[in-house]
Symmetry: C2
Subunit: 385 residues, 2 copies
């Protein structure tokens, strides 16, 4: 294993009905800003449950955080939070709402002129309002980590940032709230979590058998329960397992001590920013082609993943590794996730802009820094077919 | 999965040389009590490293915490800590030293008359001195959990207790310090960790595939790396893996959402208290016989563990489950851990006293509460052969 520090102080509260513990988890003092997205919490019962739990508290609602949360939207929330003297931020939603809330938390406590510099890292997050989470859309694991991804326009950009001060104080995982999710969002969450795990375990191999086995355990469960959920979308036990899989996929635990490769995510971010793809769908369309491009470096882990996760029986490493990529594609396809980019969406003009964003990574992406912009172009053209 | 809350704020710092980060982790103010055991830290380099890291700090040494830490010893530390105005406790050792330090932390901040009541639970831990850990003997996972086991004489007793206030602030896992361990202690740590995992996964099955797979990942790694270490005891990579396995075996993660069965541990505690057995060796001598006694309830999980951890190929569940027990015995035996109690140590007179302690559990141990004192007697007599 490589050296690591693991630290994660989030209090994770899991279970159908766990929303009923919210009232005791939110600190007693001051107004609470309730941050949410496009209105689904009014339809899925979350808003009602929150009203019950926050009865008697001053609540400042801030709905309307969009997918790929935008700087402009979030700055409006920051102004509102300051005006209202908000002391606690409660995020009710999925990764975009939680990520947006993390930015609001840091920016509201920031005294500089340009909060975007908190995202670029030119300014450190030295303070933040405390955050709590009610998760309604599993996938990103933002509910149990210290990171966020924020987008802006003029110039178009989408950047990750993180700070220990942005760990939520608590996260409520109540799978009943996911029962009303359309399949597309359910599948997106499974795909996102799958790729999170892969980017932490399908890399240049260092001796870290436990970490790899934990990662494989998450992958196996995503595959087994994801397939079963496609047949039985109302199964609460399956939804609970998949929720917990998504959280553990990126709460930093499985990334300890191993080589990581976030190239699929960084390419995907550019595709989302420039072509408006769903985050998860940008990932599943890129991943197989990136694995084929980087086959020699990853074949050892790919073969093991094929055998342990997908039941590949080939004795030969190369055959097993290629079968693993095909098994991943078959799994994504079963979930109705794309394994190719759509040329009518990623047009030649869009491709130019995506590759333009890649010039920021001229030193090369990937665990060995060899996914240079021209390699990204090969990967995207292969996916476009 | 069953409902659960997971919370673990320990900062875990892993790696050869990670001891060099200690100076920055210990808070700046006030005297530090250095709690240690029988003197091994003077021989294995830990004491020298600590002197370097704590240079310029007032250090109050408290060596001599024994295996199965005793109330009387710990109360001396409490008096010393109060006299010296100690503000931070640094535990350098294994589970006994860390557990003892947790008791010191709680008792030093306790204003009542009888600190043993913190252990019995009649008094709550309402405050505690902060704790840091330098782990030298992996096994109990006390470095990353909120529990401790404390012993006393007159009357003889050994009891677990826990409180969120007893989580260490940080734990340093530097595997180089384990290179000098005699094989007996190394094997004890592996055996202890193995049984910790088993008591959280080899139980009445509820639908929790991810939790079981994480547990199986730890078991597989313990078996694979434990066997390899027997051949190559100087292999630092293997020692690092086994250290991390032990920590994850009981940092509360794999116990979330599953049915737990701590009967082997509770029987083992009585054997340690009455017959002086090493903690781990009491466990490995009891476990196989307890599994045979409770075979019908556990055969489903046993069969899966046999297949996934030990490569058992039998299609029939009963055959696979019995093979799993035999594979565990073979593994313990390879590590020179006992799979039977020694009748010259657990004499008829000792057995009577052990069973006397079991009368405290007249309602029955185990996940179904059906390991009554007479069942314990059958298990112990089977192990005695």
């Amino acid at each position: 294993m490589l050296d690591f520090t693991y630290y994660n102080p989030v209090r994770l509260v899991y279970g159908p009905g766990s929303i009923e513990k919210l009232g005791r988890l939110v600190p007693d003092e001051g107004p609470v800003m309730l941050v949410s997205g496009g209105g689904s919490i009014e339809r899925n019962g979350v808003a009602d449950a929150l009203r019950t739990q926050l009865q008697g508290r001053e609540v400042v609602p801030f709905p309307g955080v969009e997918p790929n949360p935008q700087l402009d939207t979030l700055l409006r929330a920051v102004r509102l939070a300051r005006e209202a003297g908000v002391r606690f931020l409660l995020a009710a939603g999925g990764g975009s709402v939680i990520d947006g809330t993390k930015f609001i938390a840091a920016a509201a406590a920031f005294s500089g002129d340009d909060p975007w510099q908190l995202v670029t890292g030119r300014e450190k997050v030295r303070a933040a309002l405390p955050i709590g989470v009610v998760l309604t859309l599993p996938g990103t694991a933002s509910e149990m980590n210290d990171g966020a991804v924020i987008s802006r326009k003029n110039p178009t950009d989408k950047q990750p940032f993180k700070s220990e001060r942005l760990f939520p104080r608590f996260a409520i995982l109540d799978p009943t709230f996911t029962l009303s999710l359309p399949w597309r969002y359910t599948a997106n969450g499974i795909g996102d979590a799958f790729v999170h795990v892969l980017e932490q375990t399908c890399t240049r191999d260092v001796f870290s058998p436990l970490q790899h086995r934990l990662a494989e355990g998450i992958l196996s469960t995503l595959v087994e329960c994801g397939r079963a959920l496609r047949e039985r979308p109302d199964d609460l036990d399956l939804r609970g397992e998949l929720m917990w899989c998504s959280t553990l996929a990126l709460n930093r635990l499985i990334g300890c001590g191993v080589v990581q490769d976030w190239s699929t995510h960084l390419i995907g971010h550019a595709l989302t920013a420039e072509a408006g793809l769903d985050h998860a769908r940008s990932l599943t369309a890129v991943l197989p082609w990136l694995l084929r491009e980087r086959f020699e470096a990853k074949r050892g882990r790919l073969a093991t993943l094929g055998r342990r996760v997908f039941g590949v029986t080939a004795a030969d490493e190369e055959t097993a590794a290629r079968a693993a990529i095909e098994a991943m594609e078959a799994f994504f396809t079963e979930l109705e996730l794309p394994v190719r980019l759509d040329p009518s969406v990623v047009t030649p003009a869009v491709l130019v802009r995506v590759l333009g964003q890649m010039s920021a990574y001229s030193k090369g992406l990937g665990e060995d820094g060899d996914i240079t912009p021209d390699v990204v172009e090969r990967i995207l053209r292969a996916s476009l077919g």
